[in-house]
Protein backbone atom coordinates (compact mmCIF):
# COMPACT_ATOMS: atom_id res chain seq x y z
CA UNK A 1 0.00 0.00 0.00
CA UNK A 2 1.34 3.36 -1.02
CA UNK A 3 1.63 6.34 1.30
CA UNK A 4 -1.02 8.96 1.78
CA UNK A 5 1.44 11.74 1.04
CA UNK A 6 4.52 11.27 -1.06
CA UNK A 7 6.67 14.23 -2.14
CA UNK A 8 9.90 13.98 -4.10
CA UNK A 9 12.56 16.64 -4.76
CA UNK A 10 10.26 19.50 -4.01
CA UNK A 11 11.54 23.02 -4.66
CA UNK A 12 9.82 26.32 -4.04
CA UNK A 13 11.75 29.36 -5.23
CA UNK A 14 10.65 32.94 -4.71
CA UNK A 15 12.18 35.59 -6.92
CA UNK A 16 12.76 38.21 -4.29
CA UNK A 17 14.88 41.11 -5.53
CA UNK A 18 18.08 39.89 -7.25
CA UNK A 19 18.61 36.77 -5.14
CA UNK A 20 16.16 33.89 -5.60
CA UNK A 21 15.02 32.56 -2.22
CA UNK A 22 14.77 28.79 -1.84
CA UNK A 23 11.89 28.30 0.59
CA UNK A 24 11.98 24.58 -0.18
CA UNK A 25 15.30 23.17 -1.30
CA UNK A 26 14.74 19.61 -2.47
CA UNK A 27 12.45 18.11 0.12
CA UNK A 28 11.38 14.48 -0.11
CA UNK A 29 9.17 12.88 2.46
CA UNK A 30 6.35 10.38 2.68
CA UNK A 31 3.61 10.19 5.26
CA UNK A 32 1.48 7.11 5.79
CA UNK A 33 -2.22 6.81 6.49
CA UNK A 34 -3.01 7.45 10.15
CA UNK A 35 0.24 9.18 11.07
CA UNK A 36 0.36 12.20 13.41
CA UNK A 37 3.24 14.34 12.17
CA UNK A 38 4.65 17.59 13.53
CA UNK A 39 6.76 19.77 11.25
CA UNK A 40 9.15 21.91 13.27
CA UNK A 41 11.82 24.44 12.65
CA UNK A 42 12.73 28.09 13.17
CA UNK A 43 10.79 30.76 11.34
CA UNK A 44 11.87 31.03 7.71
CA UNK A 45 12.87 27.37 7.64
CA UNK A 46 10.21 26.61 5.04
CA UNK A 47 7.86 24.60 7.27
CA UNK A 48 4.80 26.76 6.50
CA UNK A 49 5.61 26.72 2.78
CA UNK A 50 5.77 22.93 2.92
CA UNK A 51 2.43 22.77 4.72
CA UNK A 52 0.80 25.16 2.23
CA UNK A 53 1.99 23.03 -0.68
CA UNK A 54 0.89 19.84 1.05
CA UNK A 55 -2.46 21.54 1.65
CA UNK A 56 -2.78 22.47 -2.06
CA UNK A 57 -2.97 26.14 -1.15
CA UNK A 58 0.30 26.79 -2.95
CA UNK A 59 2.06 25.13 -5.85
CA UNK A 60 5.71 24.04 -5.87
CA UNK A 61 8.23 25.37 -8.39
CA UNK A 62 9.23 21.79 -9.14
CA UNK A 63 8.92 18.32 -7.70
CA UNK A 64 6.19 15.76 -7.51
CA UNK A 65 3.44 15.38 -4.95
CA UNK A 66 1.25 12.30 -4.76
CA UNK A 67 -1.75 12.69 -2.47
CA UNK A 68 -3.85 9.62 -1.84
CA UNK A 69 -2.47 8.15 -5.04
CA UNK A 70 -3.07 11.17 -7.31
CA UNK A 71 -0.54 13.65 -8.67
CA UNK A 72 -1.50 17.12 -7.47
CA UNK A 73 1.57 19.26 -8.16
CA UNK A 74 0.30 20.31 -11.59
CA UNK A 75 -3.42 20.77 -11.24
CA UNK A 76 -5.55 23.75 -12.20
CA UNK A 77 -7.28 25.96 -9.67
CA UNK A 78 -10.65 24.29 -9.97
CA UNK A 79 -9.18 20.81 -9.43
CA UNK A 80 -7.12 22.01 -6.48
CA UNK A 81 -10.27 23.54 -4.96
CA UNK A 82 -12.05 20.20 -5.28
CA UNK A 83 -9.09 18.35 -3.74
CA UNK A 84 -9.02 20.78 -0.81
CA UNK A 85 -12.74 20.37 -0.41
CA UNK A 86 -12.84 16.57 -0.37
CA UNK A 87 -9.41 15.32 0.70
CA UNK A 88 -8.11 17.94 3.11
CA UNK A 89 -9.17 19.71 6.26
CA UNK A 90 -7.51 22.91 7.48
CA UNK A 91 -6.96 24.30 10.93
CA UNK A 92 -5.32 27.72 11.11
CA UNK A 93 -3.49 29.61 13.83
CA UNK A 94 -6.05 32.44 13.76
CA UNK A 95 -9.03 30.05 13.41
CA UNK A 96 -10.32 31.82 10.25
CA UNK A 97 -13.99 31.58 11.12
CA UNK A 98 -16.38 33.79 9.19
CA UNK A 99 -17.67 36.61 11.35
CA UNK A 100 -21.35 36.80 12.24
CA UNK A 101 -22.47 33.31 11.31
CA UNK A 102 -23.17 30.60 13.87
CA UNK A 103 -20.87 27.70 14.77
CA UNK A 104 -23.17 25.17 13.08
CA UNK A 105 -23.16 27.17 9.86
CA UNK A 106 -19.36 27.40 9.96
CA UNK A 107 -19.14 23.64 10.20
CA UNK A 108 -21.62 23.18 7.35
CA UNK A 109 -19.61 25.34 4.92
CA UNK A 110 -17.40 22.65 3.30
CA UNK A 111 -20.43 20.58 2.37
CA UNK A 112 -22.18 23.61 0.90
CA UNK A 113 -19.37 23.70 -1.66
CA UNK A 114 -19.51 19.93 -2.09
CA UNK A 115 -23.27 19.50 -1.96
CA UNK A 116 -23.06 15.87 -0.90
CA UNK A 117 -25.68 15.94 1.85
CA UNK A 118 -29.27 17.10 2.02
CA UNK A 119 -30.02 20.15 4.10
CA UNK A 120 -31.28 18.15 7.06
CA UNK A 121 -28.45 15.60 6.95
CA UNK A 122 -25.87 18.37 6.68
CA UNK A 123 -27.28 20.09 9.74
CA UNK A 124 -27.37 16.81 11.65
CA UNK A 125 -23.75 16.04 10.78
CA UNK A 126 -22.61 19.54 11.75
CA UNK A 127 -24.31 19.30 15.13
CA UNK A 128 -22.81 15.85 15.63
CA UNK A 129 -19.30 17.11 14.80
CA UNK A 130 -19.66 20.00 17.22
CA UNK A 131 -20.60 17.51 19.92
CA UNK A 132 -17.61 15.41 18.87
CA UNK A 133 -15.21 18.33 19.52
CA UNK A 134 -16.92 19.13 22.80
CA UNK A 135 -19.11 22.08 21.76
CA UNK A 136 -22.49 20.37 21.73
CA UNK A 137 -24.29 23.24 23.41
CA UNK A 138 -22.75 26.10 21.48
CA UNK A 139 -24.00 25.51 17.96
CA UNK A 140 -25.88 28.79 17.73
CA UNK A 141 -23.06 31.00 18.97
CA UNK A 142 -21.15 33.27 16.63
CA UNK A 143 -17.31 33.42 16.80
CA UNK A 144 -17.43 36.64 18.81
CA UNK A 145 -19.32 34.78 21.55
CA UNK A 146 -16.77 31.96 21.77
CA UNK A 147 -13.38 31.75 23.47
CA UNK A 148 -10.22 31.10 21.46
CA UNK A 149 -10.17 27.43 22.37
CA UNK A 150 -13.83 27.06 21.43
CA UNK A 151 -13.28 28.82 18.13
CA UNK A 152 -10.46 26.44 17.30
CA UNK A 153 -12.74 23.49 18.09
CA UNK A 154 -15.32 24.90 15.65
CA UNK A 155 -12.54 25.16 13.05
CA UNK A 156 -11.58 21.52 13.68
CA UNK A 157 -15.19 20.39 13.35
CA UNK A 158 -15.39 22.33 10.08
CA UNK A 159 -12.20 20.66 8.83
CA UNK A 160 -13.77 17.25 9.49
CA UNK A 161 -17.07 18.01 7.73
CA UNK A 162 -16.34 16.27 4.42
CA UNK A 163 -14.55 13.33 6.08
CA UNK A 164 -11.11 14.12 4.64
CA UNK A 165 -8.36 11.52 5.09
CA UNK A 166 -5.92 14.19 6.27
CA UNK A 167 -6.00 17.25 8.52
CA UNK A 168 -3.47 20.08 8.16
CA UNK A 169 -2.88 22.38 11.10
CA UNK A 170 -0.73 25.51 10.92
CA UNK A 171 0.33 26.51 14.44
CA UNK A 172 -3.09 25.43 15.78
CA UNK A 173 -2.20 26.48 19.33
CA UNK A 174 -0.32 29.66 18.44
CA UNK A 175 -3.13 31.93 19.62
CA UNK A 176 -4.22 29.87 22.60
CA UNK A 177 -3.35 29.74 26.29
CA UNK A 178 -1.66 26.65 27.73
CA UNK A 179 -4.85 25.02 29.02
CA UNK A 180 -6.71 25.41 25.73
CA UNK A 181 -3.61 24.30 23.84
CA UNK A 182 -3.47 21.04 25.75
CA UNK A 183 -7.21 20.48 25.22
CA UNK A 184 -6.81 21.00 21.47
CA UNK A 185 -3.80 18.65 21.35
CA UNK A 186 -5.74 16.00 23.29
CA UNK A 187 -8.49 16.34 20.70
CA UNK A 188 -5.92 15.86 17.93
CA UNK A 189 -4.60 12.76 19.68
CA UNK A 190 -8.12 11.33 19.86
CA UNK A 191 -8.72 12.06 16.18
CA UNK A 192 -5.38 10.46 15.35
CA UNK A 193 -6.32 7.38 17.33
CA UNK A 194 -9.50 7.20 15.25
CA UNK A 195 -7.36 6.93 12.14
CA UNK A 196 -7.29 10.48 10.80
CA UNK A 197 -3.92 11.57 9.46
CA UNK A 198 -2.73 14.84 11.00
CA UNK A 199 0.09 17.04 9.74
CA UNK A 200 0.82 19.97 12.02
CA UNK A 201 3.29 22.82 11.89
CA UNK A 202 4.51 24.16 15.21
CA UNK A 203 7.59 25.69 16.72
CA UNK A 204 6.81 24.64 20.27
CA UNK A 205 8.52 21.46 21.46
CA UNK A 206 5.86 20.50 24.00
CA UNK A 207 3.14 20.77 21.33
CA UNK A 208 5.23 18.78 18.87
CA UNK A 209 5.64 16.13 21.56
CA UNK A 210 1.98 15.15 21.10
CA UNK A 211 2.80 13.97 17.59
CA UNK A 212 4.19 10.51 16.94
CA UNK A 213 6.65 11.71 14.33
CA UNK A 214 8.66 14.90 14.14
CA UNK A 215 10.12 16.43 11.01
CA UNK A 216 12.60 19.26 11.55
CA UNK A 217 13.36 21.74 8.81
CA UNK A 218 16.08 24.30 8.36
CA UNK A 219 16.80 26.58 5.40
CA UNK A 220 14.33 24.77 3.19
CA UNK A 221 15.77 21.34 3.88
CA UNK A 222 14.52 18.47 5.97
CA UNK A 223 17.25 17.88 8.55
CA UNK A 224 15.67 15.46 10.96
CA UNK A 225 12.95 12.82 10.85
CA UNK A 226 12.31 10.94 14.04
CA UNK A 227 9.50 8.68 15.20
CA UNK A 228 8.46 7.96 18.72
Amino acid sequence: MSSLIEIKDMYKVYAQGDEPVHALDGVSVSIDYGEFVAIMGPSGSGKSTLLNILGCLDTPTSGSYLLDGIEVARRNRKELADIRNQKLGFVFQNFNLLPRISAVEQVELPDLYLGRLSRAKRRRRAVELLRRVGLGARGKHTPAELSGGQQQRVAIARALMNEPPVLFADEPTGNLDTKSSIEIMNLFTELSNEGITIVMVTHEDDIAAFAKRQLVMKDGKLIKDCRK
Binding site: N52, G55, L57, D58, R77, K78, A81, D82, R84, N85, Q86, F90, F92, N96, L98, R100, I101, L109, P110, L112, Y113, L114, G115, R158, A159, N162
Partner: protein, 409 residues
Protein backbone atom coordinates in the same frame (compact mmCIF):
# COMPACT_ATOMS: atom_id res chain seq x y z
CA UNK B 1 -22.39 25.37 -4.03
CA UNK B 2 -26.09 25.88 -4.37
CA UNK B 3 -27.76 29.05 -5.52
CA UNK B 4 -29.82 29.73 -2.40
CA UNK B 5 -26.65 29.59 -0.34
CA UNK B 6 -24.83 32.09 -2.55
CA UNK B 7 -27.88 34.32 -2.40
CA UNK B 8 -27.88 34.19 1.36
CA UNK B 9 -24.18 35.01 1.54
CA UNK B 10 -24.69 37.98 -0.79
CA UNK B 11 -27.66 39.24 1.20
CA UNK B 12 -25.62 38.98 4.39
CA UNK B 13 -22.80 41.00 2.89
CA UNK B 14 -25.21 43.73 1.76
CA UNK B 15 -27.02 43.93 5.09
CA UNK B 16 -23.72 44.10 6.96
CA UNK B 17 -23.13 47.57 5.52
CA UNK B 18 -26.61 49.00 5.23
CA UNK B 19 -25.59 52.62 4.84
CA UNK B 20 -22.93 51.84 2.30
CA UNK B 21 -25.28 49.60 0.31
CA UNK B 22 -27.91 52.32 0.28
CA UNK B 23 -25.49 54.98 -0.93
CA UNK B 24 -24.28 52.60 -3.62
CA UNK B 25 -27.83 52.05 -4.79
CA UNK B 26 -28.69 55.73 -4.99
CA UNK B 27 -27.24 56.13 -8.46
CA UNK B 28 -29.42 53.33 -9.77
CA UNK B 29 -32.45 54.48 -7.79
CA UNK B 30 -32.30 58.04 -9.11
CA UNK B 31 -31.69 56.94 -12.69
CA UNK B 32 -34.53 54.43 -12.77
CA UNK B 33 -36.91 56.72 -10.88
CA UNK B 34 -36.28 59.58 -13.31
CA UNK B 35 -36.95 57.39 -16.32
CA UNK B 36 -40.13 55.91 -14.85
CA UNK B 37 -41.48 59.32 -13.83
CA UNK B 38 -40.72 61.05 -17.13
CA UNK B 39 -42.09 58.14 -19.13
CA UNK B 40 -45.30 58.18 -17.08
CA UNK B 41 -45.76 61.91 -17.63
CA UNK B 42 -44.84 61.70 -21.31
CA UNK B 43 -47.15 58.78 -21.93
CA UNK B 44 -49.92 60.62 -20.07
CA UNK B 45 -49.45 63.68 -22.29
CA UNK B 46 -49.49 61.65 -25.48
CA UNK B 47 -52.60 59.72 -24.41
CA UNK B 48 -54.30 63.04 -23.69
CA UNK B 49 -53.32 64.45 -27.09
CA UNK B 50 -54.58 61.37 -28.88
CA UNK B 51 -57.86 61.72 -27.03
CA UNK B 52 -58.08 65.36 -28.01
CA UNK B 53 -57.40 64.64 -31.64
CA UNK B 54 -60.05 61.99 -31.79
CA UNK B 55 -62.38 64.58 -30.27
CA UNK B 56 -61.81 66.67 -33.39
CA UNK B 57 -64.05 64.20 -35.10
CA UNK B 58 -63.87 60.69 -36.45
CA UNK B 59 -63.10 59.78 -40.03
CA UNK B 60 -62.06 63.35 -40.74
CA UNK B 61 -60.05 64.56 -43.73
CA UNK B 62 -59.19 68.26 -43.79
CA UNK B 63 -58.44 70.05 -47.06
CA UNK B 64 -56.79 73.43 -47.38
CA UNK B 65 -56.24 75.43 -50.54
CA UNK B 66 -52.60 75.85 -51.42
CA UNK B 67 -50.85 78.61 -49.56
CA UNK B 68 -51.01 81.83 -51.39
CA UNK B 69 -47.73 82.93 -52.87
CA UNK B 70 -46.49 86.36 -53.82
CA UNK B 71 -43.25 85.80 -55.60
CA UNK B 72 -41.45 83.46 -53.23
CA UNK B 73 -43.27 84.68 -50.12
CA UNK B 74 -45.70 82.14 -48.79
CA UNK B 75 -48.57 83.13 -46.57
CA UNK B 76 -50.53 81.13 -44.01
CA UNK B 77 -52.36 77.90 -44.46
CA UNK B 78 -55.74 78.33 -46.12
CA UNK B 79 -54.86 81.73 -47.53
CA UNK B 80 -55.13 80.63 -51.14
CA UNK B 81 -58.22 81.43 -53.17
CA UNK B 82 -58.29 78.29 -55.27
CA UNK B 83 -60.85 76.26 -53.35
CA UNK B 84 -64.53 77.12 -53.42
CA UNK B 85 -67.76 76.04 -51.83
CA UNK B 86 -68.62 74.44 -55.17
CA UNK B 87 -65.67 72.09 -54.73
CA UNK B 88 -67.18 71.02 -51.41
CA UNK B 89 -70.56 70.46 -53.01
CA UNK B 90 -68.99 68.50 -55.86
CA UNK B 91 -67.16 66.20 -53.46
CA UNK B 92 -70.34 65.51 -51.58
CA UNK B 93 -72.31 64.94 -54.76
CA UNK B 94 -69.89 62.82 -56.76
CA UNK B 95 -68.16 60.83 -54.02
CA UNK B 96 -71.27 60.07 -51.99
CA UNK B 97 -70.21 56.41 -51.71
CA UNK B 98 -67.11 57.43 -49.74
CA UNK B 99 -68.08 60.72 -48.11
CA UNK B 100 -70.91 61.20 -45.66
CA UNK B 101 -70.74 64.97 -45.34
CA UNK B 102 -68.58 67.94 -46.30
CA UNK B 103 -68.41 71.22 -44.49
CA UNK B 104 -66.68 74.17 -46.09
CA UNK B 105 -65.19 76.66 -43.66
CA UNK B 106 -64.79 80.37 -44.17
CA UNK B 107 -62.93 82.20 -41.44
CA UNK B 108 -63.26 85.92 -40.81
CA UNK B 109 -61.88 87.93 -37.95
CA UNK B 110 -64.48 90.38 -36.67
CA UNK B 111 -65.43 92.73 -33.87
CA UNK B 112 -68.44 91.47 -31.89
CA UNK B 113 -70.59 94.12 -30.25
CA UNK B 114 -73.35 93.55 -27.73
CA UNK B 115 -74.80 96.53 -25.85
CA UNK B 116 -71.81 98.30 -24.30
CA UNK B 117 -69.47 95.29 -24.53
CA UNK B 118 -67.31 94.20 -27.40
CA UNK B 119 -64.96 91.35 -28.22
CA UNK B 120 -62.70 90.55 -31.11
CA UNK B 121 -62.74 87.04 -32.41
CA UNK B 122 -63.13 84.64 -35.23
CA UNK B 123 -66.30 83.86 -37.14
CA UNK B 124 -66.25 80.41 -38.65
CA UNK B 125 -68.63 80.08 -41.50
CA UNK B 126 -69.52 76.39 -41.68
CA UNK B 127 -72.26 74.15 -43.00
CA UNK B 128 -75.31 72.99 -41.06
CA UNK B 129 -73.86 69.51 -40.50
CA UNK B 130 -70.61 70.78 -38.99
CA UNK B 131 -71.51 69.81 -35.37
CA UNK B 132 -71.98 66.25 -36.52
CA UNK B 133 -68.67 66.13 -38.38
CA UNK B 134 -66.69 67.56 -35.48
CA UNK B 135 -68.53 65.80 -32.63
CA UNK B 136 -69.42 69.18 -31.30
CA UNK B 137 -72.75 69.68 -29.58
CA UNK B 138 -74.92 72.69 -28.94
CA UNK B 139 -75.57 72.99 -25.23
CA UNK B 140 -78.27 75.65 -25.37
CA UNK B 141 -80.61 76.47 -28.26
CA UNK B 142 -79.91 74.90 -31.65
CA UNK B 143 -77.49 74.94 -34.60
CA UNK B 144 -78.63 76.51 -37.87
CA UNK B 145 -80.40 74.38 -40.43
CA UNK B 146 -80.00 73.68 -44.11
CA UNK B 147 -82.64 76.20 -45.22
CA UNK B 148 -80.93 78.93 -43.21
CA UNK B 149 -77.66 78.06 -44.88
CA UNK B 150 -79.24 78.26 -48.33
CA UNK B 151 -81.00 81.53 -47.51
CA UNK B 152 -77.88 83.23 -46.16
CA UNK B 153 -79.67 83.83 -42.87
CA UNK B 154 -78.01 86.09 -40.35
CA UNK B 155 -78.00 83.57 -37.53
CA UNK B 156 -75.09 82.51 -35.37
CA UNK B 157 -74.07 80.10 -32.62
CA UNK B 158 -71.52 81.34 -30.05
CA UNK B 159 -68.77 79.62 -28.07
CA UNK B 160 -68.58 79.82 -24.30
CA UNK B 161 -65.62 82.22 -24.26
CA UNK B 162 -67.52 84.68 -26.42
CA UNK B 163 -70.58 84.18 -24.22
CA UNK B 164 -68.62 84.94 -21.07
CA UNK B 165 -67.15 88.12 -22.52
CA UNK B 166 -70.28 89.62 -24.02
CA UNK B 167 -73.10 88.56 -21.72
CA UNK B 168 -73.95 88.96 -18.05
CA UNK B 169 -73.67 85.90 -15.85
CA UNK B 170 -76.81 83.82 -16.17
CA UNK B 171 -78.15 85.83 -19.12
CA UNK B 172 -79.67 83.65 -21.83
CA UNK B 173 -78.14 84.72 -25.15
CA UNK B 174 -80.50 82.66 -27.29
CA UNK B 175 -82.76 85.02 -29.23
CA UNK B 176 -80.62 88.11 -28.63
CA UNK B 177 -79.09 90.20 -31.39
CA UNK B 178 -75.29 90.29 -31.70
CA UNK B 179 -73.57 92.75 -34.01
CA UNK B 180 -70.79 91.15 -36.01
CA UNK B 181 -68.79 93.86 -37.72
CA UNK B 182 -71.61 96.12 -38.79
CA UNK B 183 -74.20 93.40 -39.35
CA UNK B 184 -76.77 92.28 -36.78
CA UNK B 185 -77.02 88.51 -36.29
CA UNK B 186 -79.50 86.57 -34.21
CA UNK B 187 -77.92 84.24 -31.64
CA UNK B 188 -79.71 80.87 -31.89
CA UNK B 189 -77.50 78.65 -29.74
CA UNK B 190 -74.46 78.18 -27.53
CA UNK B 191 -71.79 75.60 -28.34
CA UNK B 192 -70.74 73.18 -25.62
CA UNK B 193 -67.30 73.95 -24.21
CA UNK B 194 -64.38 72.13 -25.85
CA UNK B 195 -61.52 73.71 -23.95
CA UNK B 196 -58.08 74.43 -25.30
CA UNK B 197 -56.34 72.30 -27.91
CA UNK B 198 -53.19 70.44 -27.02
CA UNK B 199 -51.24 73.38 -28.36
CA UNK B 200 -53.10 75.96 -26.30
CA UNK B 201 -55.62 77.45 -28.71
CA UNK B 202 -58.97 78.29 -27.07
CA UNK B 203 -61.54 76.42 -29.16
CA UNK B 204 -64.44 78.12 -27.39
CA UNK B 205 -63.41 81.59 -28.56
CA UNK B 206 -65.54 81.30 -31.69
CA UNK B 207 -68.79 82.33 -33.37
CA UNK B 208 -70.29 80.04 -35.98
CA UNK B 209 -72.54 81.17 -38.80
CA UNK B 210 -73.57 79.62 -42.13
CA UNK B 211 -70.63 79.78 -44.54
CA UNK B 212 -72.89 81.34 -47.14
CA UNK B 213 -73.71 84.24 -44.86
CA UNK B 214 -70.12 84.60 -43.74
CA UNK B 215 -68.79 84.67 -47.26
CA UNK B 216 -71.33 87.00 -48.77
CA UNK B 217 -72.19 89.33 -45.92
CA UNK B 218 -69.12 89.41 -43.71
CA UNK B 219 -66.45 88.94 -46.39
CA UNK B 220 -68.50 90.79 -49.03
CA UNK B 221 -66.96 88.38 -51.47
CA UNK B 222 -68.23 87.83 -54.99
CA UNK B 223 -66.28 84.58 -55.13
CA UNK B 224 -67.08 81.47 -53.22
CA UNK B 225 -63.51 80.94 -51.92
CA UNK B 226 -63.27 78.97 -48.69
CA UNK B 227 -60.43 78.63 -46.18
CA UNK B 228 -60.73 74.90 -45.72
CA UNK B 229 -63.14 72.03 -45.73
CA UNK B 230 -63.80 69.17 -43.36
CA UNK B 231 -64.71 65.98 -45.15
CA UNK B 232 -66.30 63.25 -43.10
CA UNK B 233 -65.74 59.76 -44.50
CA UNK B 234 -68.17 56.89 -44.40
CA UNK B 235 -65.43 54.65 -43.07
CA UNK B 236 -61.81 55.12 -42.06
CA UNK B 237 -61.02 51.85 -43.86
CA UNK B 238 -61.44 53.71 -47.17
CA UNK B 239 -59.11 56.53 -46.09
CA UNK B 240 -56.49 56.03 -48.78
CA UNK B 241 -59.02 55.48 -51.55
CA UNK B 242 -61.05 58.48 -50.40
CA UNK B 243 -58.01 60.76 -50.37
CA UNK B 244 -57.07 59.55 -53.84
CA UNK B 245 -60.57 60.14 -55.21
CA UNK B 246 -60.88 63.57 -53.59
CA UNK B 247 -57.49 64.57 -54.97
CA UNK B 248 -58.43 63.38 -58.46
CA UNK B 249 -61.74 65.21 -58.35
CA UNK B 250 -60.22 68.47 -57.12
CA UNK B 251 -57.40 68.30 -59.71
CA UNK B 252 -60.00 67.80 -62.42
CA UNK B 253 -62.15 70.67 -61.17
CA UNK B 254 -59.14 72.97 -60.88
CA UNK B 255 -58.07 71.95 -64.38
CA UNK B 256 -54.56 71.02 -63.35
CA UNK B 257 -52.30 69.52 -65.96
CA UNK B 258 -50.30 66.40 -65.10
CA UNK B 259 -47.09 68.36 -64.58
CA UNK B 260 -48.71 70.77 -62.13
CA UNK B 261 -48.66 70.19 -58.38
CA UNK B 262 -51.84 70.02 -56.32
CA UNK B 263 -53.15 73.46 -55.42
CA UNK B 264 -54.52 72.11 -52.14
CA UNK B 265 -53.30 70.06 -49.18
CA UNK B 266 -55.05 67.24 -47.38
CA UNK B 267 -54.49 66.13 -43.88
CA UNK B 268 -56.23 63.52 -41.73
CA UNK B 269 -56.25 62.64 -38.08
CA UNK B 270 -54.14 59.53 -38.59
CA UNK B 271 -51.34 61.72 -39.93
CA UNK B 272 -51.53 63.89 -36.84
CA UNK B 273 -51.55 60.78 -34.67
CA UNK B 274 -48.47 59.56 -36.52
CA UNK B 275 -46.74 62.86 -35.83
CA UNK B 276 -47.51 62.50 -32.14
CA UNK B 277 -46.30 58.92 -32.32
CA UNK B 278 -42.98 59.97 -33.82
CA UNK B 279 -42.59 62.74 -31.21
CA UNK B 280 -43.16 60.30 -28.38
CA UNK B 281 -40.84 57.85 -30.15
CA UNK B 282 -38.12 60.50 -30.13
CA UNK B 283 -38.80 61.15 -26.48
CA UNK B 284 -38.39 57.46 -25.74
CA UNK B 285 -35.02 57.44 -27.49
CA UNK B 286 -33.85 60.47 -25.52
CA UNK B 287 -35.06 58.95 -22.26
CA UNK B 288 -33.31 55.73 -23.05
CA UNK B 289 -30.10 57.69 -23.51
CA UNK B 290 -30.62 59.45 -20.17
CA UNK B 291 -31.38 56.13 -18.54
CA UNK B 292 -28.28 54.56 -20.04
CA UNK B 293 -26.07 57.37 -18.74
CA UNK B 294 -27.54 57.31 -15.25
CA UNK B 295 -27.27 53.53 -15.10
CA UNK B 296 -23.67 53.77 -16.29
CA UNK B 297 -22.90 56.15 -13.43
CA UNK B 298 -24.80 53.94 -10.98
CA UNK B 299 -23.03 50.87 -12.31
CA UNK B 300 -19.61 52.42 -11.82
CA UNK B 301 -20.63 53.19 -8.24
CA UNK B 302 -21.45 49.53 -7.74
CA UNK B 303 -18.18 48.43 -9.32
CA UNK B 304 -16.26 50.75 -7.03
CA UNK B 305 -17.92 49.46 -3.89
CA UNK B 306 -17.52 45.85 -5.01
CA UNK B 307 -13.77 46.38 -5.45
CA UNK B 308 -13.66 47.72 -1.90
CA UNK B 309 -15.73 44.80 -0.70
CA UNK B 310 -13.39 42.26 -2.30
CA UNK B 311 -10.34 43.83 -0.64
CA UNK B 312 -12.14 44.06 2.67
CA UNK B 313 -13.16 40.43 2.67
CA UNK B 314 -9.97 39.02 1.26
CA UNK B 315 -9.48 36.76 4.28
CA UNK B 316 -12.99 35.41 3.86
CA UNK B 317 -12.20 34.69 0.23
CA UNK B 318 -9.00 32.88 1.28
CA UNK B 319 -10.84 30.78 3.82
CA UNK B 320 -13.61 29.87 1.41
CA UNK B 321 -11.02 28.82 -1.14
CA UNK B 322 -9.13 26.81 1.49
CA UNK B 323 -12.20 24.79 2.36
CA UNK B 324 -13.04 24.11 -1.26
CA UNK B 325 -14.70 27.09 -2.94
CA UNK B 326 -13.86 26.91 -6.65
CA UNK B 327 -12.98 30.11 -8.53
CA UNK B 328 -16.43 29.92 -10.14
CA UNK B 329 -18.14 29.83 -6.74
CA UNK B 330 -16.23 32.95 -5.64
CA UNK B 331 -17.02 34.65 -8.96
CA UNK B 332 -20.74 33.99 -8.57
CA UNK B 333 -20.77 35.05 -4.95
CA UNK B 334 -19.55 38.54 -5.81
CA UNK B 335 -21.50 38.92 -9.06
CA UNK B 336 -24.66 38.00 -7.21
CA UNK B 337 -23.91 40.55 -4.53
CA UNK B 338 -23.60 43.26 -7.20
CA UNK B 339 -26.73 42.06 -8.99
CA UNK B 340 -28.63 42.11 -5.74
CA UNK B 341 -27.51 45.66 -5.02
CA UNK B 342 -28.53 46.90 -8.45
CA UNK B 343 -31.79 44.96 -8.53
CA UNK B 344 -32.85 46.28 -5.16
CA UNK B 345 -31.84 49.73 -6.42
CA UNK B 346 -33.92 49.14 -9.54
CA UNK B 347 -36.97 48.02 -7.56
CA UNK B 348 -36.74 50.99 -5.19
CA UNK B 349 -36.21 53.24 -8.22
CA UNK B 350 -39.38 51.94 -9.88
CA UNK B 351 -41.34 52.58 -6.69
CA UNK B 352 -39.87 56.05 -6.23
CA UNK B 353 -40.50 56.83 -9.91
CA UNK B 354 -44.16 55.80 -9.73
CA UNK B 355 -44.59 57.83 -6.55
CA UNK B 356 -42.89 60.87 -8.07
CA UNK B 357 -44.98 60.66 -11.24
CA UNK B 358 -48.20 60.54 -9.24
CA UNK B 359 -47.08 63.41 -7.03
CA UNK B 360 -46.21 65.59 -10.03
CA UNK B 361 -49.46 64.61 -11.76
CA UNK B 362 -51.36 65.57 -8.63
CA UNK B 363 -49.67 68.95 -8.29
CA UNK B 364 -49.69 69.92 -11.96
CA UNK B 365 -52.97 68.19 -12.85
CA UNK B 366 -51.27 66.22 -15.58
CA UNK B 367 -52.53 62.84 -16.60
CA UNK B 368 -50.16 60.02 -15.60
CA UNK B 369 -49.94 56.74 -17.45
CA UNK B 370 -47.59 54.12 -16.00
CA UNK B 371 -46.92 51.22 -18.30
CA UNK B 372 -46.05 47.90 -16.73
CA UNK B 373 -43.55 47.27 -19.50
CA UNK B 374 -41.41 50.30 -18.63
CA UNK B 375 -41.31 49.26 -14.97
CA UNK B 376 -40.38 45.70 -15.86
CA UNK B 377 -37.71 46.78 -18.34
CA UNK B 378 -36.13 49.20 -15.88
CA UNK B 379 -36.04 46.43 -13.32
CA UNK B 380 -34.53 43.88 -15.68
CA UNK B 381 -32.03 46.36 -17.05
CA UNK B 382 -30.84 47.36 -13.59
CA UNK B 383 -30.00 43.74 -12.78
CA UNK B 384 -28.01 43.55 -16.01
CA UNK B 385 -26.10 46.61 -14.88
CA UNK B 386 -25.22 44.78 -11.67
CA UNK B 387 -24.08 41.76 -13.62
CA UNK B 388 -21.98 43.85 -16.00
CA UNK B 389 -20.29 46.08 -13.45
CA UNK B 390 -20.04 43.37 -10.81
CA UNK B 391 -18.14 41.08 -13.14
CA UNK B 392 -14.71 42.71 -12.98
CA UNK B 393 -14.45 42.86 -9.16
CA UNK B 394 -15.81 39.32 -8.91
CA UNK B 395 -13.37 38.12 -11.55
CA UNK B 396 -10.51 39.67 -9.62
CA UNK B 397 -11.66 37.94 -6.45
CA UNK B 398 -11.86 34.59 -8.21
CA UNK B 399 -8.31 34.96 -9.55
CA UNK B 400 -6.80 35.52 -6.11
CA UNK B 401 -4.39 32.97 -4.71
CA UNK B 402 -5.77 31.34 -1.56
CA UNK B 403 -2.47 31.55 0.26
CA UNK B 404 -2.07 35.27 -0.52
CA UNK B 405 -5.56 35.90 0.79
CA UNK B 406 -4.98 34.02 4.02
CA UNK B 407 -1.71 35.85 4.62
CA UNK B 408 -3.14 39.29 3.72
CA UNK B 409 -2.82 41.79 6.53
Amino acid sequence: MNFAMILKVALFAILRNKMRSFLTCIGIIVGIAAVIAVLAIGKGASVMMVKEISSMGDNLVMIWPERHRRGEVRTGMGSGQTMTADDAKAIKRELSHLVSSVSPTVNVSCQFIRNNRNWNGRVSGVSFDYPEIRNWEVSNGRFFEEHEERACSRVCVIGTTVLANLYEDGENPVGTILRIGSMPFRVIGVLSSKGATGWGQDQDDIVMAPYTTTSRILQRSKFKAINMMNVSLVSMDDLEESKREITALLRQRHQLADYQDNDFETRDTTEIMNTIGSVSGLMTVLLTAVAAISLLVGGIGIMNIMLVSVTERIKEIGLRMAIGATPAAILWQFILEAVMLSTVGGAVGVAVGIGTAHAIGEIQHWPIVIEASSAIWSFVFSSFVGMFFGFYPAYRASKLNPIDCLRYE
